[in-house]
Point group: C2
Chain length 263, copies 2
């Protein structure tokens, strides 16, 4: 049972909106399991209010840190004091640790979590031909991590093409040896296709991409965690493709995040 | 059982330090009893960080509001958009409601709570001769409320005399008909003596004042709520005086505060 007192430390999940976030349940279970007197709450802050909010966390002394979700993962970067190497490369952050001095250190664990989640399901990305759909914070994180995990060729699809091109350039520059280009669902043959857009979070969302060009057995992976089974995963299963839940990414990154925030 | 999700609203208790605050337990019980999906946490913010913190709450959309405790009750006043009449008179605030527009409205319920707590214990302050020791946020609130509740004469004691004088002037100006002056524990005959300092919160604190000059039966009241029984109350009881717990103030003001923040 969760009992909050004046001594309880706090961890936040900052997004806009926050109705869909699962972090409070997940982290509160973690804190309880580990016997840590800390609580996680969701904080709904719109983009125009993010800078003032992050500034305020520097003086919040019983704050452990905070997670960031849509739409703040990239916007938070210039507001922090320090970035870990992955966050620095991808210019996106999903976890911030508040040091006792008030300094804020950003890390990015979506990508590592995604790759680890694939491996946990017996799907090593090494040598795979991959399409990442979505070049926002999550897409960048996942694409970098797949490139570093040894994907042989990568394509990036994004509604706004310049953003896809920027990610292609960044990967080419930082991860040598991977073949990477702007692509689309119909433009190649893929072993793994990742939905790194937010499409699928809401019931009336369109599918993020059509599945008809994919060969049987292709892994169709979600970054969307809630709902756990999206329309995309249902449709992939129906077509004889191999669905892979966004939940796997979250489960795999819990330990890493906990270590980063020091709990 | 308290289950926090992405939809849970938030209420804060802001102080420095916050180890002693009871608001999380009290408000979380209230929310549970009323079936409200909201959670209260303590926020430890030092005086130099208060302005940035309060500014940030304007953009925190799932925030109901926040309570303020030592040492922020007066410092918060210029940071708010609006004050209720009691807060305006006393220039102190213990409760802030965040309107959906982001506007912050301050109210002060310590004083009303204190007077109501006295009445609930069968001790109407009307006609009493009163000494209030401490002229900070809580002292101001209690002194104003006692004056308005019909105390016949009032004395204000404070370590810093100018602060006591300012409170005397303010009461004289705003509440006509009450005789009010700077005083001290030995300088008069009182029916009620109130500890409105923070002395008593910590185990090794000195007594806020000596009790030897008080006549048997004098009510010795605490504004300190934690611990519930302070050394002052123990000593008062031992001497045949009438101890009155700070807890009575808190219990009496819960409903008023809940109405103010709209839960």
């Amino acid at each position: 049972m969760l009992v909050i007192t004046g001594k309880t430390m706090v961890y936040l999940c900052v997004g806009h909106p926050t109705d869909h976030v699962k972090a409070p349940e997940v982290f509160n279970d973690l804190f309880r399991d580990r016997g840590i007197d800390a609580v996680t709450i969701a904080v709904d802050v719109a983009p125009e209010d993010l800078a003032a909010f992050v500034e305020a966390t520097k003086g919040w002394r019983n704050l452990i840190g905070f997670g960031l979700t849509i739409p703040h993962k990239e916007a938070v970067v210039p507001l922090l004091d320090e970035l870990d190497p992955t966050a620095q490369r991808t210019r996106a952050v999903n976890t911030v640790r508040r040091l006792p001095s008030g300094r804020l250190v950003g890390g990015l664990f979506d990508g590592l979590g995604f790759v680890q989640g694939l491996r946990d399901a017996g799907r090593d990305p090494r040598g795979m031909s991959v399409l990442v759909v979505g070049a926002g914070g999550v897409g960048r994180a996942i694409a970098f991590a797949l490139a570093e995990a040894g994907a042989s060729s990568m394509a990036i699809a994004n509604r706004s093409r310049p953003r896809a091109e920027r990610l292609v350039d960044d990967i080419a520059q930082i991860v040598p040896g991977v073949s990477v280009d702007v692509g689309s669902i119909g433009s190649g043959r893929y072993d793994l296709v990742v939905n790194a857009t937010s499409l699928g979070m809401h019931e009336d969302d369109d599918l993020p991409f059509a599945l008809d060009s994919l060969a049987p057995g292709t892994v169709v992976a979600e970054a969307v965690m809630s709902p756990e089974v999206t329309a995309l995963l249902v449709e992939a299963e129906r077509r004889g493709l191999t669905p892979h839940r966004g939940r796997a990414m979250r489960d795999a990154q819990m330990d890493v995040v906990a270590r980063f925030i020091g709990v």
